[in-house]
């Protein structure tokens, strides 16, 4: 008689340490498991649901300003340091980790309109409506004690803010600023990544060297105010501006002249380059959409990112994730949205009851957090991935999460998973505004269609949306 006996070597089943996991031996023959697809689909569905359950993006609010926050700058050298400028001229340095002000000081007479830091993180440039551009020396960011130390804030400030450069005598006796430039208000400032120049935008675009008192170069093309400007982080000599004549203008510092201008139907409030793709930039337009362009082919937008319901008058801000795969926008409609770099709709909408008009947003340099500054004088810290677990993950936890994400990614096209994944609760006002917008767009489309129907065939060609809002490209 034959008796079947399982024989296994002890080596395979002996753990080296008592903490080791027991080995599990599986037979991966697909013939044995016919339900794997169903199993994985269910897991994907559950993962989508769990993601919704754990979606708690809001980390905290940081208050300290006494007026709306108009601009922010992140420090490329210190992950947790962020500067914010407010409408009353104050500039604050924050420690995001502790969610405290490190120091606060009166920066400008009027509103601060632009902040930028140098790549080494030692210099801060600020500009404002008081027609000054100021250069600050940033101190080493000390570890912020979470205990109470608000009392000596001012002292700390005076300790590290010093006159950086005063080459000439100036009628203005202020100690902090580098230059008083009497033109119009300065609207924006940005610093090169791979160089030590910075640029300001106002009536014209000025290029500055921090060691000189005057701009080393000035560009003007047309007489309209330049609203915002950004250096290309990958290609330090290229610069883009948006102006109030509804234009986007490309500059090349090496040729000392503007390069090209694109005129759209509405103006762009803010622009941002993709840090991982130096030819691509995204402009946040007044018509609530964001347009991604290739700087070499400006005749049409590559992608139109829709979603926001209002971006009126003042500002809609935009900042790219350092990974280049996402960008964040803050808008007048009191939401912060995250877009995929080639997604036509937002992947995430963040809002809170108390957050008012969002004037500025930043993606932190590790791509994990967002900071938004809004009308309600608060900075808010968000997670970039709403359901992400913060802190150190065990390898098994991380693997599990990776697997769930992968499964969800795989089955995201199936209706149920898709529905759960896309579902968002919105404040009533935003929901209604979005509905209204949809109706309006539909009506517009319908009207165009009807007009087309009643005009000579071919006289009204259908234009894709990515071209529709572009008027012309000026050489």
């Amino acid at each position: 008689m034959r008796v079947k006996v399982i024989s296994r070597s002890t080596d395979d089943f002996t753990r080296e340490r008592s903490q080791d996991l027991q080995k599990v031996f599986r037979n991966y023959d697909p013939g044995l498991r016919s339900q794997e697809k169903a199993v994985e689909y269910t897991r994907a569905l559950n993962a989508a649901k769990l993601e919704k359950i754990f979606a708690k993006p809001f980390v905290g609010a940081m208050d300290g300003h006494i007026d709306a926050i108009s601009c922010m700058a992140k420090n490329p050298n210190h992950l947790k340091a962020i500067f914010s400028g407010s409408m009353d001229g104050d500039i604050c340095l924050w420690d995001i980790a502790a969610r405290k002000t490190v120091c606060q000081f009166p920066g400008h007479q009027g509103a601060v309109r632009g902040l930028a830091t140098s790549t080494d993180g030692d210099l801060l440039v600020s500009c404002g409506v008081d027609c000054t551009v100021r250069l600050w020396k940033v101190p080493m960011l000390k570890m912020v004690d979470t205990s109470d130390h608000t009392g000596d804030n001012s002292q700390a400030c005076t300790g590290w803010i010093e006159t950086y450069f005063l080459h000439q005598q100036s009628s203005h006796g202020s100690m902090h600023f580098l230059i008083t430039f009497v033109l119009t208000a300065v609207r924006g400032v940005d610093h090169q990544w791979d160089g030590n120049l910075f640029a300001t935008a106002g009536a014209q675009v000025d290029i500055w060297d921090p060691n000189r008192s005057e701009p080393i170069n000035s560009f003007q093309w047309g007489n309209d105010t330049v609203l915002s400007l950004r250096f290309d982080p990958g290609e330090c000599n290229i610069l883009i501006t948006s102006a109030s004549d509804r234009s986007l203008t490309l500059y090349d510092l090496r040729t000392s002249s503007p390069a090209r201008k694109l005129i759209m139907k509405t103006r762009c409030n803010s622009v941002c380059w993709n840090p991982r793709e130096p030819m691509n930039f995204t402009a946040a337009n007044e018509d609530t959409n964001c347009y991604s362009f290739d700087a070499r082919k400006l005749d049409e937008a590559k992608i139109v990112h829709k979603g926001h319901v209002s971006a009126v008058v003042f500002r809609m801000d935009i900042d790219y994730s350092p990974t280049g795969r996402e960008f964040v926008t803050g808008s007048y409609d009191r939401t912060v949205r995250i877009f995929n770099y080639f997604g036509d709709h937002s992947r995430e909408i963040y809002h809170t009851k108390r957050m008012q008009r969002v004037f500025c947003v930043k993606y932190t340099y590790d791509g994990t957090y967002l900071v938004s500054g809004s009308d309600d004088t608060n900075l808010r810290l968000w997670k970039s991935k709403a359901s992400e677990q913060l802190g150190v993950l065990l390898p098994r936890e991380r693997k599990r999460q990776e697997y769930l994400d992968a499964v969800k990614e795989r089955y995201k096209h199936l209706p149920e998973v898709k529905r759960i994944d896309r579902h968002r609760h919105l404040p009533k006002a935003i929901y209604n505004a979005a509905k209204l917008r949809r109706t309006m767009i539909e009506a517009e489309n319908q009207k165009a269609e009807r007009r087309r129907k009643h005009s000579t065939p071919g006289s009204m060609p259908v234009q894709p949306f990515r071209k529709r809002r572009i008027i012309k490209e000026v050489e």
Partner: protein, 856 residues
């Protein structure tokens, strides 16, 4: 541009104002002619004065120049300033015409000075800052005049420069070229309007920036196509061996410092070194020594091994008697020790003390055990002698153990000795004697037959008698065997006994006393139901006996019950049979064994028959029971086949009678006689259509108002109802027309949508995919850890972006990428996106991110 490409006369310049020329100008054609004549006599120091004179006298006409330069209109000043701001230094390079630096220089300076004056004034007005603030530039520019004047006050010409290098090797060449150039006619085109020029400039700038940006195409494409981008810092952890860390150690605390002082003092280090050297010298080993040591070790090892083996063998021995004796031996040895060694005495005393204490605590021997309680409950008078003796012994032991310490020693020794004697005499013979005694008793009691109840019935009596006779026979036989073995025991030593005991669990050959004992015991049970077996020292065997007995009891009523038992039991039964070939067990096997077991059983039976001739009793039964069964089966199968044969024969004969040769048409008609296929299909199709696009219900009269007054009947159905019906009908027809199978007469294409399945289907093809098959292929393979080995999971589930929170990700940096580089190159830069190409192998993700930008 303020600087105009003008040719000037070689006169000393009178001043900034005079430079501007007023008055009549020559028409362009004439000027061209003049130009053709050659250069003017401006260069005083030149050799070829005369030939060039005519041309030098003429200046070029330009439309826009005079007005601008004259400063008639204020607004031109602004322009001048504006331009100055933009291209203060670079403007020379922008000119379209070849400039003659020497000549222009002075004029330009003057021009600049003039303009600057104005500009400073303007700036002063607008900014309100002191004049000094804007002076810096002017001063700087004044320093930029590097040229030396050739002769006195005159303007610097190219000839002045040439004079300086007279006599140097390349001089004649340069001069010749210059002459050629001067002889050439020179027409200067009108500069383009500023707007145009700017445009051209911008075009060039855009082209340059485009070129710069295009170089990024390759890395960006690579990054986009990569399944995974890794952003992480290559943090250098530095040296990480223990030795390396230890070498870094510096004493900090007092204690550490003191120790360091001692250990690192020169003397100690020196001494250590010396010692080490000496030790090394001493370390030389003799071959002989090594061999000796090895041998010693080997010997020790073998001894150990033998000892171990012996211990194992001893441990394996299951005999209680043996162990008991072993224990006794040990005790003896111990007591011998006690006399010799005072230490051992102490040890022994301690042990005794412990035992006594234990006894006092547990009262183990004070009739507290379950067995003794039960015995006492039943009454000691009912029990047999043995039991009573055992209980008495227990009590005695208890008394002995709890006795006062003073007297223990002597008593215990005496007790021990008596015990020893008893046990020794016991050992084997006693057991056998006991068995013998019991059997005798059985035989005595055999005559006593119960007279009451069912047993008094005559047929019961008869049956009892029969059985008893059989048992009597058996018992007698057993008795004889006991005698035999007793006799044998006297001859053999204990070793032999051990062996026989050891073999007990296995197949036994020759006269086995075990089997007989069992048989005997069963008989006892059957007849008397007296459970004196508890007293038996060999409980293990007793238990096994009981098992056998119960089994037999179960079996006896009928073999049908046994069929349900699992095979294991069967095996057990078989093994039992092999162990004790009693008459009943063999019978039972016969009943049990189906056809499959037949062979096994019969062979076993044969084997046993061959082996133990002395114990074959009622084995004759076996074949007689099994064989009929077999035969029966054979009969059955035979009869079945016969019947089949008969049937086949019958049918064939039927067909033969009817057969005729039909035509083809007939055959077809016959084949499809009963069914109208086409009509059936039509009907099926209609059913499907009706199911998928149901026919609208016919309008019916509305119950309620006016029903009883004939009005509804007169008027008929309301018009809206009819209309609705019409519409529904039309809709249905349209829907039917739209169907894919509307024009295909012989086809049904179901358009039914299964809602339950729909849940698992993507509504439309996801973006990067171009065909359904590719998409389905991409999600075919599972990616989970349950379905894939660990090695491949990480590749399958790797996210598109791997980053660590807290690591600053810097913007992309350009580096020349060698397209032929090896794919498995490691991270080179401290931080950069590394497209993970290995992961591409994972087919699951293939094609997902291979995208160009999505267009709407």
């Amino acid at each position: 541009m303020p600087k105009k490409p003008t040719m000037r006369r070689g006169k000393p310049t009178p001043g900034p104002g005079k430079r501007r020329r007023h008055g009549p100008r020559l028409p362009t054609s004439m000027r061209r002619e003049l130009d053709a004549m050659g250069p003017g006599p401006a260069h005083g120091s030149d050799d070829e004065e005369g030939s060039d004179a005519g041309i030098e006298d003429v200046y070029e006409y330009e439309e826009g120049v005079p007005e601008e330069e004259a400063g008639k209109n204020g607004r031109y000043d602004d322009v001048a300033k504006y331009e100055y701001e933009f291209d203060s230094d670079a403007s020379d390079a922008d000119e379209d015409v070849p400039s003659e630096e020497g000549e222009d220089m002075e004029e330009d300076d003057i021009d600049d000075g003039d303009d600057e004056e104005k500009q400073i004034r303007i700036l002063q007005e607008t900014t309100g800052m002191p004049r000094e603030a804007f002076d810096g530039k002017k001063r700087k520019q004044a320093l930029e005049l590097p040229l030396q004047h050739g002769d006195g006050d005159g303007p610097v010409t190219i000839h002045d420069l040439l004079d300086n290098i007279q006599g140097k090797p390349g001089y004649s060449k340069v001069r010749k070229r210059l002459q050629q150039q001067e002889r050439k006619t020179m027409t200067v085109l009108a500069p383009l309007p500023k707007v145009e020029r700017d445009k051209i400039e911008r075009k060039v700038a855009y082209k340059a920036s485009n070129k710069e940006l295009t170089k990024w195409e390759q890395p960006v494409k690579m990054n986009r196509e990569a399944t995974t981008l890794t952003f992480e810092n290559d943090t250098n952890l530095g040296v990480n061996t223990v030795a390396a860390i230890a070498s870094e150690f510096k004493p900090r605390t007092e204690f550490e410092k003191r120790i360091a002082e001692i250990t690192q003092s020169a003397e100690i280090i020196e001494a250590h070194k010396n010692d080490g050297a000496r030790i090394l010298e001493l370390n030389k080993i003799d071959v002989e020594d090594v061999r000796e040591r090895q041998n010693r070790l080997a010997k020790m090892r073998s001894l150990l091994f033998r000892h171990e083996m012996k211990a194992k063998r001893v441990k394996k021995i299951k005999s209680r008697t043996y162990h008991r004796m072993l224990k006794k031996d040990k005790l003896k040895a111990a007591s011998a020790d006690i006399e010799a060694d005072p230490e051992a005495v102490k040890e022994y005393a301690r042990k005794q003390e412990f035992e006594r204490a234990e006894e006092r605590m547990t009262l183990r021997h004070k009739n507290t055990s379950k067995w003794s309680r039960r015995i006492i409950e039943r009454g000691l008078t009912v029990q047999d002698e043995g039991t009573r003796a055992a209980i008495a012994a227990q009590l005695q032991k208890h008394a002995h153990l709890t006795r006062k310490m003073n007297s223990t020693k002597d008593d215990s020794s005496s007790e021990e000795s008596s015990d020893e004697n008893e046990d020794e005499s016991d050992s084997e013979a006693k057991i056998l004697n006991k068995g013998k005694e019991k059997i005798r008793k059985v035989l005595e009691e055999y005559n006593e037959i119960p007279n009451s109840g069912v047993f008094s019935l005559p047929f019961m009596e008869r049956a009892m008698k029969k059985r008893e006779e059989a048992t009597y026979e058996e018992a007698r036989q057993a008795l004889e065997e006991y005698d035999d073995s007793l006799r044998k025991l006297e001859d053999d030593d204990t070793e032999h006994n051990e062996d026989s005991y050891k073999v007990a669990g296995k197949r036994t050959f020759g006269p086995v006393k075990n089997a007989h004992e069992e048989v005997k015991k069963r008989k006892l049970e059957d007849t008397e139901n007296i459970s004196d077996s508890e007293y038996d020292s060999d409980t293990a065997r007793h238990l096994s006996n009981n098992e056998v007995i119960t089994k037999h009891d179960d079996i006896q009523p009928g073999s049908a019950l046994l069929d349900d038992e699992p095979q294991n039991d069967l095996y057990k039964n078989f093994s039992d049979i092999i162990k004790n070939p009693g008459p009943k067990t063999t019978f039972e096997v016969g009943m049990l064994a189906g056809d499959s077991w037949k062979k096994v059983k019969s062979s076993k039976g044969n084997g046993q028959r061959n082996v133990d001739g002395s114990t074959n009793k009622s084995k004759v039964l076996v074949p007689s029971i099994v064989d009929p069964k077999l035969k029966q089966q054979d009969h059955n199968s035979d009869s079945d086949s016969e019947e089949d044969m008969v049937e086949g024969f019958l049918t064939i004969s039927d067909r033969k009678e009817k057969y005729e040769l039909p035509s083809q048409a007939d055959l077809i008609c016959q084949a499809f006689a009963g069914d109208d296929v086409e009509a059936e299909f039509e009907k099926d199709k209609m059913d499907v259509l009706n199911e998928e696009n149901p026919e609208p219900e016919k309008p019916a009269l509305v119950p309620g108002w006016g029903q009883w007054t004939d009005i509804q009947q007169k008027k008929g159905l309301p018009s809206w109802m009819l209309k609705e019906h019409e519409i529904a009908k039309r809709n249905r027809e349209e829907a039917l027309k739209r169907r894919k199978d509307s024009k295909l007469k012989h086809v049904i294409i179901s358009e039914h949508v299964d809602k339950k399945v729909e849940k698992y289907l993507a509504r439309n093809l996801p973006f990067p995919y171009t065909s359904k098959d590719v998409y389905e292929q991409s999600i075919r393979m599972p990616i989970g850890p349950d379905f894939n080995p660990t090695t491949s999971i990480s590749a399958l589930t790797r996210p598109a972006i791997v980053k660590k929170p807290g690591v600053i990700i810097k913007p992309i940096q350009y580096e020349e990428v060698n397209p032929h580089e090896k794919p498995n190159e490691l991270k080179r830069v401290i931080q950069r996106a590394i497209p993970n190409r290995n992961a591409k192998k994972a087919s699951a993700k293939q094609g997902k991110r291979v995208t160009t930008q999505k267009r709407k």
